[in-house]
Symmetry: C2
Subunit: 321 residues, 2 copies
């Protein structure tokens, strides 16, 4: 029976990953600083603790795991990572976790480790044109991410690569592009655009007004969490050990994203544009490499994932009244 460790199992993607790993028959040790906010983890063990603490990390790596998934990070949507107010904490907390996890993986002879990097590590200069952003894997250098969150991901990617070279650590690295879906942040200040618009549309009566940061002409792509997990597992089963995008290439204007949510909700609301943290002007996953390496690309239409997400957020909104 495959023994798996999931770091960050109390978070959004980690929670979905644990479900899938259990469904696939693995023995799973889940670790996080908090229990999952929305589901009871089906993990065989859930150890609550601080991955910034080297001693705690040594303890949870007390056996040679077949696979480790390192998803733990101090992160959130634009309101959290682009405000500038959390920069030092993001760098400190996430870097400490990665430094500890890699060291413990080497010492305990982990067979294979997955690290979740982010599209936020790509340089700002290639993401100024909302209609034509470039996020090909080989466009990452010379480096100039637009956030400290992105700089930490870039540094930690390099650290995993160094451990691969120096310690033969068998690594897989994905650069996630805006993963979304049910059972994630929707109202705690760390939510991303899809969950935020689902909440705003759900909470606002038909004919009312919802707020949006910026002019809404910035573009992004969004990947539904089930397809993200599928990509991660396919990557783990492949031999590709350099950073690779896992994201959708269905790029959409943020204005259109909000309208898509309204259509799902059967509501018509007015968008009020206000100032707020924005990030880059345009971003889209470049899927040429993943197509070549895994012979697979995500293909669920955005509106299908958004439908599921809206229904879940609507339920939260109704429960929270």
């Amino acid at each position: 029976m495959k023994k798996v460790l999931v770091c960050g199992a109390g978070g959004f993607i980690g929670g979905h990953l644990v479900k899938r790993l259990k469904k696939d028959g693995a023995w799973v040790r889940a670790v996080d600083i908090k229990y999952h906010d929305y589901v009871v983890s089906p993990a065989d063990e859930f150890i609550k603790g601080d991955l910034r603490d080297p001693l705690f990390v040594k303890k949870i790596f007390d056996e040679p795991f077949d696979e480790v998934y390192q998803l733990a990070a101090d992160m959130g949507g634009a309101g959290f990572v682009f405000s500038g107010e959390n920069d030092a904490d993001i760098m400190h907390n996430s870097a400490m976790i990665n430094l500890n996890v890699v060291e413990a993986s080497v010492v305990s002879k982990v067979k294979k480790i997955f690290y979740s990097s982010s599209a936020c590590m790509y340089p700002e200069r290639n993401q100024m044109d909302p209609k034509n952003p470039n996020c090909a894997e080989d466009s990452a250098y010379p480096a100039q991410p637009d956030s400290e969150y992105g700089w930490e991901k870039l540094f930690s990617e390099r650290f995993y690569m160094a451990a691969k070279r120096n310690y033969k650590l068998d690594i897989r690295i994905a650069r996630f592009h805006n993963i979304f879906g049910p059972e994630g942040s929707w109202n705690d200040g760390r939510e991303k655009a899809p969950a935020a618009f689902c909440r705003k549309v759900a909470e606002t009566p038909n004919g009312g007004e919802i707020e949006m940061w910026g002019d809404g002409q910035q573009t992004r792509s969004f990947l539904y969490v089930d397809e993200c997990i599928e990509g991660v597992l396919k990557l783990m089963n492949s031999h590709y050990n350099n950073p690779i995008n896992i994201g959708s290439d269905e790029m959409i204007q943020i204005n259109d994203l909000a309208k898509m949510v309204m259509k799902i909700a059967g509501k018509n609301q007015k968008i009020i544009h206000i100032s707020g943290p924005l990030g880059v002007r345009g971003r889209n996953s470049d899927n040429k490499l993943i197509k070549k390496v895994l012979n697979w690309v995500p293909n669920m239409p955005l509106k299908d994932g958004l439908e599921k997400t809206y229904q879940w957020v609507l339920k939260q909104v109704n429960t929270n009244i």
Copy 2:
């Protein structure tokens, strides 16, 4: 009486800094993972311990220091940082130290902290022409250091800057350019070019052969350690809180550096060029900013510092026979 903490006090620059601080009348707590290899530290306290351990770091920050000097790092000359073999350790060890030290500085309300960054953080593209390298402070981005040692310095610089923004930590950051002098590594695999050539010339009879990595046409500048310390103290007493070069702008070919040492030694030896780790093709400190900000630049001729260094290395060589 000013209370000062020196992290990395068992190292080359840290050792010289402690001497100077004591001469200037400060109370000094010195910390390092090892005692100094060549001198008995005049520090009021010398605490031996591992700065990668967050608990140890919390303990040594048990009072609000007036000044902290963070010089601790896993580092060395080209043979150590450019071989590629130590990349993961360098990143892990140095980043852990900086993450811990900044956190403890914020918590214990340190009044001012100095961080020693490095010219190794500058992008390789501006250092390809040995006659005309560009290391102006504002040439650092977009980023592409040629070593993981440089990437760690870059990441940690950004972390200190983030702590300045988010926690009002009063920081000073210098980018050191090849500091040299007596009482530093000369034969342990971490020595830099000046000490290495002093050793080779001292150990080799007149008319013999000494080895050099590369064709010797690569250029560098070297700053004598006393002037480095002078610059650090001037920076600490200034209000400038962005990264600034501390280095010499007396650029020299490595072939000429070796010949200068031979002249000091009164020897004539043949240089044998062999392959080895090299680093960038050219590097020189750009001193326009420091001149403007501190109204001071280092001005000791290279040969004067090299003379002192040679005499010290010669003594070590003779003692070690």
